[in-house]
């Protein structure tokens, strides 16, 4: 049995003036025990998919099943077995850290003791403050507590909508390690994130943009399908460099990626020395061009262009 199956799901929101299609004919499935990532920018339709799967929203068209249960007909049964952490998740600010965790543990029919090992890594950092009210925690601490609250129960399937948004890099790493541990216990996990670097930590990912799924595969396969050489280009004048590279006749695409610009070339003969001399002509001294392996984000950009 598959953990999650979506078939041709369509969800539109009507405003007074226009109709917005948030989810546009989306189909995919998640295997049992799989860590599946929905990767896409804000407004791609990730949250709508989560809400449809957690029985909180009704789709306009299509059908969806969670662990073989229909999200419309069997919504009560689904609510008994899934774990869910909404993107907009707030804690009770007037309860203490410990009370929050205890509350969520209890309403999910478990205790802190029983599943302590699931959240231990993150919760350990919070334990010195366990009698402090959640409203008085720092932003990152709040998110860690929210994660602990979402993970304290041991559901058969876990839906996490952008759990790491607003969390510092170290905690993000710890969080993903926690997810791996949950996965090892046989829990199927569907997670969404706008961070492309987290994508490669999933078993499989779906790249989603404007309500449409562009690609579903393992992160490695997606990277392999890039099918081109990718170069990191750096010079002293980065802003001009981006425009100049884009103007270059053999350039297929060039995007700013932190310290470097990622450049891919059209399917014709090209020569790195030729590019270098072109850049020098444009006044870029000490320009470096380095071949690199493409990442998920490069693939995302490439797919977006198609």
């Amino acid at each position: 049995m598959k953990a999650v199956v979506l078939e041709n799901i369509v969800k539109t929101y009507k405003t007074k003036k226009s109709t917005v299609t948030a989810v546009d004919d989306v189909s995919f499935s998640v295997e049992e025990g799989e860590l599946f990532g929905l990767i896409g920018p804000d407004g791609a339709g990730k949250t709508s998919i989560f809400r449809i799967l957690t029985t909180l929203l009704l789709a306009d068209k299509g059908s969806a099943k969670v662990l073989g249960l229909d999200v419309v007909d069997d919504y009560k049964k689904i609510r008994d077995i899934v774990g869910y952490m909404p993107g907009k998740f707030s804690l009770y600010t007037d309860l203490t850290v410990e009370e929050n965790l205890e509350f969520f543990a209890t309403i999910f029919n478990t205790t802190i003791k029983e599943n302590y090992d699931l959240v231990a890594d993150i919760y350990k950092q919070l334990e010195p403050f366990k009698t402090r009210r959640a409203g008085k925690l720092s932003g990152g601490m709040k998110q860690k507590l929210a994660l602990s609250c979402a993970l304290i129960h041991k559901p058969k399937i876990l839906f996490l909508d952008e759990p790491t948004t607003g969390v510092d890099p170290v905690s993000r790493k710890e969080f993903w390690e926690m997810l791996k541990r949950l996965k090892a216990q046989g829990i199927s996990i569907l997670v969404s994130t706008p961070y492309m670097d987290e994508a490669k930590l999933c078993d499989r990912i779906a790249l989603i943009q404007n309500g449409k799924i562009m690609k579903i595969d393992t992160p490695q396969n997606i990277v392999n399908q890039f099918g081109k050489n990718l170069y990191a280009v750096h010079s002293e004048k980065m802003f001009n460099l981006l425009n100049d590279l884009r103007d270059y006749k053999k350039t297929e695409s060039c995007y700013a990626f932190g310290e470097n610009h990622h450049l891919s070339m059209k399917d014709e003969e090209y020569n790195l020395d030729e590019i270098k001399s072109y850049l020098e002509e444009k006044g870029h001294r000490r320009a470096t061009i380095k071949k690199i392996d493409p990442g998920i984000e490069d693939c995302f950009m490439q797919l977006m262009k198609k």
């Binding site: 609510r79 998740f89 007037d94 009210r133």
Partner: protein, 368 residues
């Protein structure tokens, strides 16, 4: 069961850890009861009046003394000419002017007829009527005494008795009114706000997806406010008995029972409000405008229902507070038993069932 206990404890934490709302919840009834019981009152006492005595004889002096010695009036000034009357009213110090005709005693003795003019400030018509009546009563009183001395062959005496509230205390109407208002406000407004707050916080999303049944969520939301309301009932009753001097004539258990019925009705109304609003402000606005106003205006607490236009009289029937106030007055003041209030109790129960039914129909098991 453990879920329910933890949830209820969480709700109590919310209430107890917010000192301001706690103060409002428990302090408001006390303040309101004392304000309505003592400060704002329809009773007239020590009203300032002016006297223009054109006769200055024994009869007029006698009447003036009687007026002055009554607890309703204080003589603020004595006037000498008619011209001063209007000025006295315009300064706003006096509410009534009493004018005796010249040669009062002579006229009374020989023509069997003498005139006293009573002028009142009718900017407040009800009060003006009351004051004029009081003065007339004092004059009549004097007259009947005179008549007895003269041994007239026949006289008609009217004897009044104020049943259930012989001292005409304002507390007798303000206590039931405040109870009707406070309990509705706390139960309905606070419950609806606390449920809507979960929607705003986004925690409702988790609660919906959790194994916890929506009915249990509602029950745990409602119970703490039920307890708070009961505490308020006890404070109000203690205050009204020991501070306002208003005894409970009827069975206290019956009084508490009808009050519990009313609280449950108010809680279900709060539940209904929470299902139709999505923000705390909206819930508060609906509660205040939709509940407070009708309770004050249409429950018979501030204005007698019998005096209202027929449309409002009909409309007042759908205000639960009206029926509750009738029940409280019946049990607390008149000392009636269950037989005297069962109709009203049945109406409250029917309303509760209706509110709960609509709430269940309207309760959103999904987000939209």
């Amino acid at each position: 069961m453990k879920q329910l206990m933890v949830f209820i404890r969480k709700e109590f934490h919310h209430i107890l850890r917010d000192p301001r709302s706690l103060l409002v919840l428990l302090g408001m009834p006390i303040v309101q009861l004392l304000i309505f019981g003592f400060a704002i009152t329809n009773e007239t006492r020590n009203t300032n009046i002016a006297v223009l005595d054109n006769a200055k004889d024994q009869s007029t002096q006698n009447i003036i003394t009687r007026i002055e010695s009554s607890r309703y009036f204080d003589i603020d000034r004595t006037l000498n000419t008619n011209g001063q009357i209007e000025h006295a009213f315009k300064t706003g110090k006096i509410k009534v002017a009493v004018i005796f005709q010249p040669d009062f005693q002579n006229e009374l003795a020989h023509a069997n007829k003498a005139q006293i003019q009573i002028i009142t400030d009718a900017t407040d018509p009800n009060q003006a009527t009351t004051l004029a009546n009081y003065i007339s009563a004092i004059v009549m009183d004097y007259q009947s005494e005179q008549n007895q001395q003269n041994n007239l062959p026949y006289t008609i005496n009217t004897e009044m008795r104020m049943l259930y509230n012989p001292e005409l205390k304002g507390a007798y109407s303000s206590v039931p009114g405040v109870m009707g208002m406070i309990l509705l406000l706390i139960s309905a407004m606070m419950t609806s706000i606390s449920i809507v707050k979960e929607k705003e916080l986004g925690t409702m999303e988790i609660l919906l997806v959790s194994p916890m049944k929506p009915a249990l969520v509602i029950v745990s939301k409602v119970i703490p406010y039920f307890v708070v309301s009961l505490i308020n009932v006890v404070t109000i009753l203690l205050l009204s008995v020991f501070v306002l001097g208003m005894p409970i004539q009827g069975n206290i258990i019956l009084l508490i029972t009808v009050t519990i019925l009313y609280i449950i009705c108010a809680l279900s109304l709060g539940l209904l409000i929470s299902t139709i609003t999505n923000s705390q402000q909206a819930a508060m606005l609906v509660s205040l405008l939709g509940l407070m106003l009708p309770v004050v205006m249409l429950s018979g607490y501030a204005f007698p229902i019998a005096n209202m236009p027929i449309v409002l009289q009909v409309l007042s029937n759908i205000v639960p507070a009206k029926w509750y106030i009738i029940m409280v007055k019946s049990v607390m003041i008149k000392g009636l038993g269950f037989a005297g209030v069962w109709k009203e109790a049945l109406i409250i129960i029917a309303m509760t069932v209706f509110f709960i039914f609509v709430s269940i129909k309207k309760f959103k098991i999904r987000l939209s």
